[in-house]
Symmetry: C2
Subunit: 565 residues, 2 copies
């Protein structure tokens, strides 16, 4: 093969272009994770695949480094408020080439059609999305979701070549009590040879052993070193999570070198403003700063997801897809270019993936509300108030006197959840901790059923902000001080149809408005808001059907009545 | 799952038998190669698969060790003179659970039917044989083989699910000169996503780079560290060979830790007497004694072949087939039991695989010969004599005076190759180095075409020993001192239909007879004999068609005539 040397636009890289433009050789320091060595050499590509890896000498200070691309081993794309094709454009500058993704959020709105929406959109971009079949739709029967995916529908999804695994089995009580539907879903995955992702926060001891023995092979919910080490010791793989919502990296990073083939990295949820700043690359950098071994970290970020999910992402071996990144050095990890299937998708001239017109699909049946819809007849005596905690998914159940709750200057607001799939009355309760001095905020991103959730003091404000979301057919909104801010999310009420950077800027702007103008004291008010209807995480939450005790798994009234014990 | 503890017959092992007899837990030190750690713990199995790996504490001196089974990454089963089902019975006591095997020898006799014979026999045993499509049948056009496997037949084989790779591409000149048939065979493998094994002894530099760029990903022919390191640097995987014929372990073992994911271990050819003594287990033990890292060695022996050939052999991960071995300790590697797909195939009570009646298939058309068939009219002047070298596949071309050659006390014997596929005259020449004082030896194992090769002083002895092989329809034979020893190999003239240990004993006996009674000075006279017709390895060899110069690739006469230069 006659190679011709041409200097590429990318800094340190020598391209040797063959007469056939399909073939290319890259000369750089080659980070060989599998053999745990770095040599200077040449990587030959043809037809989107690596055809040769030649080591020609020792690592050179003056040269850049090429290594396999980074993989987010568990992320709900919907949390970025972007459709996959726009998520891809935001992720490739960070060296991400692939994600293992659970379309759980859109599935709760649109069912199997939502999963198909994600697959269809993802197919339009060279970025490698690997979707799973969402195992828990709806998440509970105490809320109104847009769809149900039963074990038969799961089988239909798992039989598809583009569905790679059964996504996080959140219903761990169902696993431990041998729920037939739950076991059928797991059995379908096993019979098709596809892995089953776990979700078992805080489950340890015998329960964890039984959960793992059911054939559930990963967990990304560990918050403590001890919990994760226990699960690893039981043979479960651990996906260390550091996203916009949950951050477990500081507690768990020592495991990267202790179980180098059983640890992966993920974000789980990545909001648009965070995704603009960094992704798995930031975790790799932090792990190196913490003293984790280079090859252990890269194995977690680049190799283990490929092995575990058996996904066709290249690891710089001959025959592999040509998926890799070029970085300036191994400390800064400054991305010079990102390559997927031999195609440059990011380099110093920017993102090379074009914006693709976004198809809008939705399910949104809610009609505009008036202030009276949010009225709450306050009984005397003691009331249950949701205690929101900054940065946490859990809440507290606070029992306060009715007179305190209704004081104008108390930090006690109303929270409402409005079923968006049928026109029924709103559920209304009290909440403490948002710190809004004025106005109201609302969102149709409300895990897991994604009804509309709103927080504010005055019923008129609540009606106005909810109507803003309804008018946009989904989105996040804030009103107050004579201003109204809306970020429309017309795709299933979860994702924007706009450019990713614009969405990130709009999200940043509305977030700032809620904090600076409305006075919220929360670090990320819309994120906290989105978890106030998430029933599976205790303690007191609000479903579209009413106030819910997540510890005892039943509805409770706002007024505390005498209880029989 | 309710587990019941029962003490197993095997020493240190605790079996916890569940009520369902399919399920079992083994408690031992778990050698986790992928995570490079050893912990005490429990491995749960069900339905032939690993369902759980629980670490319960630190490594215990008092307990045995379990680790993935050993894999011979390249072996011609035929060299053991045993059919696969008997090879398996000889290999499992050494902890071998799988082989990657090229049925090249039987294919040269029986063609595709020979490959099918191996597949059919292998299917009768739980031992894991992974066969390739033999790429070079016949090996050259200067000899008569029993069959031809062209690129179309290769495609037919490669399309089978039970054919895992294109076996060693010995025709490296064909690769380097773009021979269309050779390239077609390689292309078929690539298009079907199956790897191509190499065979490029001594090929380095640009030629090696071009050979590797053709998409050939392994080599097991390296004899020097430099050659192997060069090929590894070019991205080729190296299979370190230590068998009955070629022994490269001493030169190459440092590479095990230098390229831990690119090195495998193999025997290539393993004679029955050697196979009775040890297999890959002996190589692992030696590597540890040489100071190679434990996990590097085990990765080469247990993991890398699984990854490279994508073969379903378990590596002690949940979900894997339950293929593993239990050893007393990690120094002696004394095998306590070998388990394949959850079935104990060897333990302290012996091999648990029953002997299976062997189907005989053959192609053998040679008729008995008389002494006059081996007469050679000796011209005066100088003669070419094959110089056999103990322990080597190469020979020398020695030019000696005719009077010396015919002296009764010179160590110069006759060598004959008799076409076994059609009745035509024998090819006869002179050979030095076998050291026989009396009698003659013959074999139908004669690489690569497996005609009959015989060495002896007197024509009558040659006729007698060749007729002994013909009468047995293949085998190895020796006569002299009034004795006749024959080890019949009726399966393709290559393999016995008898019990493996009996074959090993018979081989040892006939080998001793040739050395002790006939006086051969060679370490393994039948092995050296089997390579005297192997034309592709220089320098002077004998084909059924005549004396062959393997350096210049043409026939030469016995008498040295004046050459034009």
């Amino acid at each position: 093969m006659p190679w011709q040397e041409t200097r590429s636009k990318s800094a340190n890289l020598v391209f040797l272009q063959s007469e056939s433009s399909q073939a290319m050789i890259i000369e750089a320091n080659i980070v060989d994770i599998r053999n745990r060595r770095i040599d200077f050499g040449k990587v030959g590509m043809q037809g989107g695949r690596i055809v040769s890896v030649q080591r020609t000498g020792q690592e050179r200070d003056t040269a850049s480094y090429i290594l396999p691309g980074l993989i987010d081993a568990h992320v709900h794309i919907e949390s970025s408020m972007l459709v996959p094709s726009e998520f891809a454009r935001m992720a490739v500058p960070h060296g991400t080439v692939a994600t293992v993704s659970d379309p759980h959020e859109i599935a709760n709105v649109l069912g199997v059609a939502g999963v198909e929406y994600m697959l269809d959109n993802a197919a339009l971009t060279p970025f490698k999305f690997f979707f799973g079949a969402p195992s828990c739709v709806p998440a509970t029967h105490f809320e109104t979701a847009g769809a149900t995916i039963d074990s038969l529908a799961i089988l239909g999804l798992l039989e598809r070549d583009d569905i790679w695994y059964l996504a996080e089995m959140m219903n761990y009580p169902g696993v431990l009590t041998d729920d037939p539907e739950v076991l059928a879903k797991i059995r379908h995955a096993h019979q098709l040879g596809k892995p089953v992702d776990g979700h078992a926060p805080g489950v340890v001891g015998d329960a964890a052993v039984r959960y793992i023995r059911a054939g559930i092979s990963t967990d990304h919910e560990c918050v403590s070193y001890e919990e994760a080490a226990f699960k690893l010791e039981q043979g479960m793989k651990i996906i260390i999570r550091e996203g916009s919502a949950a951050r477990n990296f500081d507690a768990l990073h020592p495991l990267i070198s202790q179980f180098p083939s059983m640890v992966m990295l993920c974000s789980d949820d990545k909001h648009p403003d965070d995704l603009a700043i960094g992704h798995i690359n930031a975790l790799v950098r932090r792990a190196l700063q913490e003293g984790c071994g280079l090859f252990d970290v890269l194995q977690a970020a680049c190799i283990n997801p490929v092995e575990h999910y058996e996904i066709p992402v290249g690891t710089l071996q001959p025959g592999d897809p040509a998926d890799f990144i070029e970085v300036k050095d191994m400390e800064s990890l400054e991305i010079i270019q990102t390559v997927i299937d031999g195609k440059v998708v990011f380099d110093r001239e920017g993102v090379r993936l074009p914006a693709i017109p976004v198809q809008v699909e939705n399910k949104f049946a809610a009609s505009p509300r008036s202030a009276s819809d949010f009225a709450l007849e306050v009984p005397s005596g003691q009331l249950r108030v949701i205690g929101a905690i900054d940065g946490a998914l859990v809440t507290e159940e606070r029992v306060l006197d009715a007179t305190t709750v209704t004081e104008e200057d108390a930090d006690i607001l109303k929270i409402a959840v409005i079923n968006r799939y049928e026109d029924v009355p709103a559920a209304v309760a009290y909440i403490q901790g948002f710190g809004l001095q004025t106005g109201a905020i609302a969102s149709s991103v409300a895990h897991d059923s994604h009804n509309i959730v709103a927080v504010g003091r005055h019923d008129a404000d609540l009606a106005a902000v909810v109507n803003a979301v309804i008018e946009a057919r989904g989105g996040i909104a804030a009103i107050g001080g004579g201003e109204e801010h809306v970020l429309p999310l017309p795709v299933a009420g979860l994702m924007s149809d706009q450019d990713g950077r614009q969405v990130a800027a709009a999200y940043t702007a509305i977030d700032r408005f809620v904090k600076e103008t409305l006075g919220s004291t929360l670090a990320a008010p819309f994120m906290t808001l989105s978890f106030m209807a998430l029933l599976v995480i205790p303690r007191l939450k609000l479903s579209d059907k009413g106030l819910f005790d997540g510890m005892n798994f039943h509805f409770v009234p706002v007024a505390v009545t005498e209880q029989l014990s």
